[in-house]
């Protein structure tokens, strides 16, 4: 930090009583060492998660007799293990996309309501109320989704199956559209679960819209909605994208709500495009079989599925992070 040209450096023995006390160089070294250590530990932990999952999944994958990525079979014990994640991937991604399609528009609208429309006396309690949605444990969402909310959605499913059944994703699927335990219901419940995440982050960016942008638009005679469209939404767009990504990440990895609501399918059931169908996500597959981790081979297969889920959420979260970083670079 400092360059020194001086030669006259006599004994720096200080004179006053305070100055003669320890200047804490040792303490500084210990404390900064501890904090760097903690930071490094976090990095190491994330790397270890990847490393452990990879090293223990690889032996099982090597013995796998079908393509791990394209097969939907799941036989993990015995001499000839055959397992693949195609089916899990489909259910995981489709249910999460349903959740995003529903939660992002509603979440953005709620965030706009909280930042632009709500009267001041309402804005804070209203925001607190939405945040409470995040405090409900996912297992309670599962219980509620299966027993209370799902039955209400069944008529909706039947309506879609009856009038839009010609679209493959809305196909009645042998009457499963009358069942609660479908991908569709899971998607809607996931949407409610990620709504507070999408809302909270969108609210944060909308609230940061520079006053000058808003006043600029209003001074042109824009209505409130036009002001939002010209000033607030463009400013908040990267924030909304990364909010959507974070919500997606949460939906992809959600376990208990999915496990409780979704019906598992009998092995060998052929794949259909319909949303009115059972199935398993990565997370629910692992949770459903958690009691059966006994041989390394079996466990390895589930760890492999967990690894794919980890990578999936890693990518989605990294995108969210990069988008928001870009925005920071812009606004600073």
């Amino acid at each position: 930090m400092t360059s020194v040209t001086g030669v006259s450096a006599p004994d720096p023995s200080p004179t006053s009583s305070v100055a003669s006390r320890s200047t804490g160089r040792l303490g500084d070294r210990v404390f900064s060492g501890l904090s760097i250590g903690a930071g490094t530990l976090v990095v190491v932990l994330v790397l270890l998660i990847g490393l452990f999952l990879v090293t223990q999944a690889v032996p099982a994958l090597q013995r796998n007799e079908v393509n791990f990525l394209t097969s939907s079979e799941w036989t993990v014990s015995g001499e000839h293990p055959r397992f693949g994640v195609a089916g899990l991937l489909w259910v995981t991604v489709v249910s999460s996309i349903i959740a995003m399609l529903l939660a992002v528009p509603v979440g953005v609208a709620v965030a706009l309501f909280l930042t632009q429309y709500a009267p001041t006396w309402l804005a804070r309690p209203a925001a607190g109320t939405i945040d409470l949605l995040a405090a409900v444990p996912s297992i309670v969402y599962g219980l509620w989704g299966l027993r209370q909310f799902g039955p209400v959605l069944v008529p909706v499913q039947q309506f879609f199956a009856q009038y839009f059944g010609w679209i493959p994703i809305f196909a009645p699927n042998n009457g499963l559209s009358g069942n609660v335990s479908t991908i569709f219901v899971v998607g809607v419940v996931l949407a409610i679960m990620i709504l507070p995440i999408v809302t909270a982050l969108s609210r944060e960016v909308f609230a940061q819209t520079p006053r000058a942008h808003i006043e600029g638009a209003m001074a042109l005679g824009a209505t409130k909605w036009e002001t939002i469209r010209t000033a607030v939404l463009p400013f908040g767009k990267p924030g909304v994208i990364s909010a959507a990504m974070l919500g997606l990440g949460r939906a992809l990895g959600e376990t208990l709500a999915v496990t409780i609501i979704l019906a598992t399918l009998a092995p060998g059931t052929p794949w259909v495009a319909s949303l009115f169908n059972g199935g398993e996500t990565f997370a629910s597959k692992i949770a459903n079989n958690a009691g059966e981790f006994d041989t390394p081979q079996k466990t390895g297969a589930f760890l492999a599925a967990g690894l794919v889920l980890f990578l999936l959420t890693f990518v989605v979260n990294a995108i969210a992070r990069i988008v928001i970083e870009r925005r920071k670079a812009f606004s600073e």
Partner: protein, 258 residues
């Protein structure tokens, strides 16, 4: 107490940017030296190098010498923490510690440096608060939060806090710029009183203030935006305000600057 400061060929950098160039000056003990000049000329930067607060900012560095009674503050074996104990500082905005009472604020410097003796602490607190002309106003509420005082009282509290560790030198970075005229007057009176004991350097934007409180005045200026700031001249305040040697100083002081 009270030591002389010699600055020799000081260059100050923020990263690669040279903020101040070639400053050499002598600051006399038991006197008040004022730094004046337009904003951005580096006078606060120079002030902060005198107790090595400058290097708290990432990427900042200096080249040259700052001698405190012939001891180089930037010598390799000189600990910046020790330097700051010897040279105290008062900031532009009063910044008492919000979690601490008035007593604890003044005692903070001693306590954080390991003094535990209750008697020593309370004696020092009383002496410092008296020294800062604040004792009579706060002696009945020493256990109340320091943040509850008025702005001027807070600034005097900060001065008390700074002198509690018995520094040799007291640096003041625009100590009155956030205060009302009456509080400013109180601080200026205080400066007059404590210059008997300390070497005081004060940065100020207010030329009347420089004229009122200082014995010597240093004028800093920069040639153009993006160029490093320079010390134009330093002299007795009387002379600087009446017949400065440099044209630039005269222009600035008479308001014909720029």
């Amino acid at each position: 107490m009270a030591k002389r400061i010699d600055v020799q060929d000081l260059d100050i950098y923020y990263g690669k940017f040279k903020a101040v160039e070639g400053v050499s000056m002598r600051i006399e003990p038991r006197s008040v030296t004022a730094f004046i000049g337009p904003s951005g000329c580096g006078k606060s930067t120079v002030l902060r190098t005198l107790n090595r607060m400058h290097e708290v900012i990432p990427g900042a560095s200096v080249d040259g010498q700052v001698l405190l009674d012939d001891k180089d503050l930037y010598a390799k074996d000189m600990d910046p923490v020790a330097v700051r104990r010897t040279i105290g500082m008062v900031f532009q905005r009063p910044n008492p510690f919000p979690t601490m009472s008035i007593f604890d604020n003044v005692a903070a410097g001693l306590r954080l440096n390991g003094v535990k003796n209750r008697k020593v602490l309370s004696e020092t607190v009383e002496r410092s608060l008296k020294g800062a002309n604040l004792w009579n106003e706060v002696k009945d509420r020493l256990d109340k939060p320091g943040a509850g005082l008025s702005g001027g009282q807070q600034q005097r509290l900060c001065i008390a806090r700074a002198i509690a560790v018995s520094p040799e030198v007291l640096l003041m970075d625009e100590p009155c710029s956030a205060l009302d005229p009456i509080s400013t007057l109180a601080i200026e009176d205080l400066i007059h009183e404590i210059k008997e004991k300390y070497t005081i350097v004060i940065v100020t934007h207010n030329m009347q203030q420089a004229a009122r409180v200082s014995d010597r005045t240093a004028f800093f200026n920069l040639a153009a935006t993006g160029k490093p700031g320079k010390l134009i001249e330093i002299d007795d305040t009387q002379k600087m305000f009446n017949r400065p040697s440099e044209k630039a100083t005269e222009d600035y002081i008479s308001g014909r600057f720029g």
